[in-house]
Amino acid sequence: MDTLLGDDILDMIEIKNLGFSYQEDGVALSDVSFNVEKGEWLTILGHNGSGKSTLSKLLVGLLRPSSGTITVDGQVLGEESVYDIRKKIGIVFQNPDNQFVGVTVKDDIAFGLENLQIPRDEMVKRIDEYANRVDMADFLEKEPQALSGGQKQRVAIAGILAMKTDVIIFDEATSMLDPKGRKTILKYIQKLNEEGVTVITITHDMRESVLSDRILVLKNGEVLKIGPTKDILLDKETLESSNLELLLPLEVMHTLEQKNITHPKLKEFLWQLSLNT
């Protein structure tokens, strides 16, 4: 019981020496260790095929680690605990098609709630609330297959948000949304996080990482770097070595520094601008 006391209680997720491979040869993840604090927002970045989605599936017990351990809220993830842990973690898949269970949008949002044994009245209320939140209230009776790409992503997000889990993982969940829709969802994620939900966002869009507390950069299945968002945002070398980029204002800042053009007020201005994208 010692482990439940002390600092550990602050960690929502603790990952130690995690390794995974899909086949005999070829390693998808190796020796990954990091933790996510309760109420933290962590961004995971990395090149295509760096292991982001694999990591997220391991976290909810859809894949089994080849080595290492995952602890969620003090509970070690294993055969027995997996069902408990899934009640705490919601995940929006990278491909929304892989997520749909219900025959209509309404049934699909309901599916997770039914599993959590939410009473019917509450369920009806939540379906309404979250369908509106993602602007899909007019589509409740449609089949998920008969939606556009962005509409599918919205429904997938609503299905998870409605479950109100302690942790939510978004695996490139806004990649097909229009700019306005993307901003709305991000604002809402921020609000949730402020209310205490632990958030993990996987993305390729640097602008989405700005609001998070920390950034984890993966490369070839290993942790390249993890640190406070501000540090990583400025770390051109780390970002570029995993096929990422600097935010535009920071790129400008970097170039000016390289050319020895100093302009203190401009520097501060660019920094502020990058935080507001």
């Binding site: 899909y22 990395g46 090149h47 295509n48 095929g49 982001k52 989605s53 694999t54 990278q94 491909n95 098609d97 008969a146 939606l147 556009s148 790409g149 962005g150 509409q151 919205r154 490139e172 990649s175 097909m176 949304l177 229009d178 700019p179 306005k180 829709g181 993307r182 901003k183 390729h204 640097m206 570029e240 995993s242 096929n243 990422l244 980029e245 535009l248 204002p249 790129e251 400008v252 170039t255 000016l256 050319k259 053009i261 302009h263 007020k265 401009l266 201005f269 601008l273 994208t277």
Partner: protein
């Protein structure tokens, strides 16, 4: 010869006969050479539906289209004798979801599928597969893998390779850069641009990334609720007030340019449409 839409409307049929009007009286002409177009618009505005008409995967419910000299109308009877294959050979379409496009056992077979069907020899198709996979930024080892066991971004790249290998005259890509890492996105946009400039081909890209629109497009189409609401120059588009109504956004470059202009009174006038030009100008005005 071009792709010409005349009053095209399209209704998705559902089995209960309550259709959904996804295209509403669209008129547009796209030249078969020399265009670089981006198609943008809010979620569910009909972009994917529109481009599926361009290679006749869907045919209009109302109105008619003329694709490279082949007339396609709204009645099955009149379309009976239409040869679809030549159209699909010339107009290559990359789907929004790579999962909708990949079906072969290996990546190599999948990329070779198109070329082989259009009469390219086995050995030539193999050669093209190798080239295409490298163009999209994956190495040869991927050729023997199953397209289903790849990461999201890798699938996207393979689906693009499958169409590039067909070497179509008109290349249409439905959100080709969603899910790609930033370097992959830039590299592939550069590839599409090269295809456009060096071979004078027409390229049409659907995207939600305003930076892509501003940096590359010569012409931009905006859709809203099934209708085409803007067809013209991207620079003009972003200076209009109603981009907010269309759920669009101002490209990063313009935002930065405007902020620098108004806060530091730096001269940012003229055409600055990409990072390079912006950095060059800044250097000039600051040193």
């Amino acid at each position: 010869m071009a792709i010409k839409f005349e009053h095209v409307s399209f209704q998705y049929k559902s089995i209960d006969n309550k259709g959904y009007l996804a295209l509403d009286d669209v008129n547009v002409v796209i030249e078969n050479t020399g265009e670089f177009i981006t198609l943008i618009g809010e979620t569910g505005s009909g972009k994917s539906t529109l481009v599926q008409h361009m290679n006749a995967l869907l045919t209009p419910s109302k109105g008619s289209m003329n694709i490279l000299g082949v007339k396609i109308s709204s009645t099955a009877k009149e379309n009976k004798d239409v040869q679809f294959n030549p159209i699909r050979k010339q107009v290559g379409l990359v789907f929004q979801f790579p999962e909708y496009q990949l079906f072969e056992e290996t990546v190599e077979k999948d990329i070779m599928f198109g070329p082989k069907n259009f009469g390219v020899s086995e050995s030539e198709a193999k050669k093209r597969a190798r080239e295409a996979i490298n163009i999209v930024g994956l190495d040869d080892s991927y050729l023997s893998r199953s397209p289903f066991n790849l990461s999201g971004g890798e699938k996207k790249r393979v689906s693009i390779a499958g169409i590039l290998a067909m070497e179509p005259d008109i290349l249409i890509l439905d959100e080709p850069t969603s899910g790609l890492d930033p370097r992959g996105r830039d590299a592939l946009l550069e590839v599409f641009y090269q295809i456009h400039t060096s071979l004078n081909k027409t390229v049409l890209i659907i995207t939600h990334d305003m930076n892509t629109v501003y940096e590359y497009a010569k012409r931009v189409l905006v859709m809203r609720e099934g209708a085409l609401v803007y067809d013209g120059d991207p620079v003009k588009l972003f200076s209009r007030k109603n981009i907010d109504n269309w759920n669009l956004d101002v490209p990063d470059i313009i935002q930065l340019k405007d902020a620098l202009e108004s806060n530091f009174h730096l001269d940012m006038s003229g055409t600055i449409r990409n990072k390079k030009a912006l950095l060059k100008r800044l250097e000039e005005v600051l040193s």
